[in-house]
Structure formats: C-alpha cells, structure tokens
Amino acid sequence: MIDDDRLQHLLRSAFPPIADQEPSRDLWPLVVNQIRAPMKRLWLDISLAAVIAILLMMFPEWLSLLAYHL
C-alpha cells in the first residue's frame, strides 16, 4: 500500500511544478474574434433570410416549390 506522502511525492515527480509564465503572444485578438464570430454568423443568417423573403415576394409561385422541398 502506498502511503499518502509517498503518493504525493510520486505525483509531484510525475508532474513537476510549473514556473510562473505568461502567454507567449497577445491573445486579445483571438478573444475578439471569438466574440465577433457568432455576430458574423447571425448577420449571414439574416441576409440569407432576407434574400429568400424578397425572392418569394417577387416569385410567389416558388413558395410551393420551396414547401415541397422542405
């Protein structure tokens, strides 16, 4: 049976303490990209919906075609 101290010593040997470090580069741009990505997707979705709505207003007969495919 391994006692607690021995087990802790083994763990600390297997995973040596990590010295205080800092990120290797400026990560703020990545955070901003993550924040803005869903917004971009949202605008893409809205644009697509608008195009479809306009097309359906111009060509109402396409509605049945669209409904058939849905």
């Binding site: 391994i2 087990l7 995973f15 470090q21 990120p23 580069r25 990560l27 924040i35």
Partner: protein
Amino acid sequence: MPDELERDLLSLFVQGDLDAFESLFKQFQVDVYRWAVRIVRDPSTAEDVLVEAFWRAYRGRGQFDPSRSFGAWMRRIATNVARDHLKATRPRAGWSATDDEIPAPASSDCDLGEAVALAFRKLPPKLQVVATLALIEEQPYAEIADVLDLPIGTIKSRVFRAVRALRKELARLGIQP
C-alpha cells in the same frame, strides 16, 4: 472586493463595453493563464483555455455581479474550461483497460513516474482538477473551495476519492512501491 474605479469598469463590462472588457483582460490575463497552466500542465493548451474562458466570460457577463471579485470569477470559468479540456483528452472514459494497455511492473522511478502520470490522467476530470490543485500545486483547500464555489468538505472528499482511485489503479498496474 473591487475599488470604485474597478467597479465602474466592471459595470461597463456587464453592459457589454468591449473597451472595458479589454482593460479587464489585460489586467487579469496573466493570473488566469497561470491558473489554467497549473491544471492543464501545458502552456499552449493553457492559452486556448484562456481565450475560451474570456469568451465565456463575455458571453455570460450578465450573470456577473460587479460588487464581487472579477479575478475569482475568471478563475472559476477557467477551471471549468480546463476541466472540459481534460474531459476531452482523457485517455479512457472508464477504469477498465485491456491487457495491452497495462505496462510492465515498474522497475525504476522513471517507469513509476510514467505509471503514476498515466493513472492520474485516467482520473475523472472533476477529481483530477481538485487533486492537481491540492496535491501537486499544494493550494490551500479553502482557496480551491472558493474558486470552485464548493464547500471545503466536498474538496476534501474529492481529494480522498482521487487518492483512493489512484491507489486502486496503481495496484491494478501491479505497482506496490
């Protein structure tokens, strides 16, 4: 407890002000990064955890109380992100293993270290996080409890369960140093 200037900054952040959030990011990124690297044990992964944690913080800014510590809140989010990472990269979901995964009985400290590392990575992530902070990083139980927003009794119980599971796994690997 944040001072008045910081409270203003935090209020702006809660309202979604990106400049205020950038100021907070610059102020707390190193602390959050160091916390993350202690859990995931890899600098590059800790950078991913940092980005994901700040993104989640911005997304959940409405739930933040500006009278509370932003640093403690960020550490909690980073811990959750790090735990998700451990879950995704865990060697196996269960504790069973096929014979070809069982290493030969350890003959040296080097082999023993590898076996301990392997057994440790197989721990369920919530036990692994607590065991890393308590046993490897030697953080006080009270601080771990504060960051994870759990009672100290739960932290002690998780450390106990982690040690018991490690012993069991090492015994299964035939290691009795």
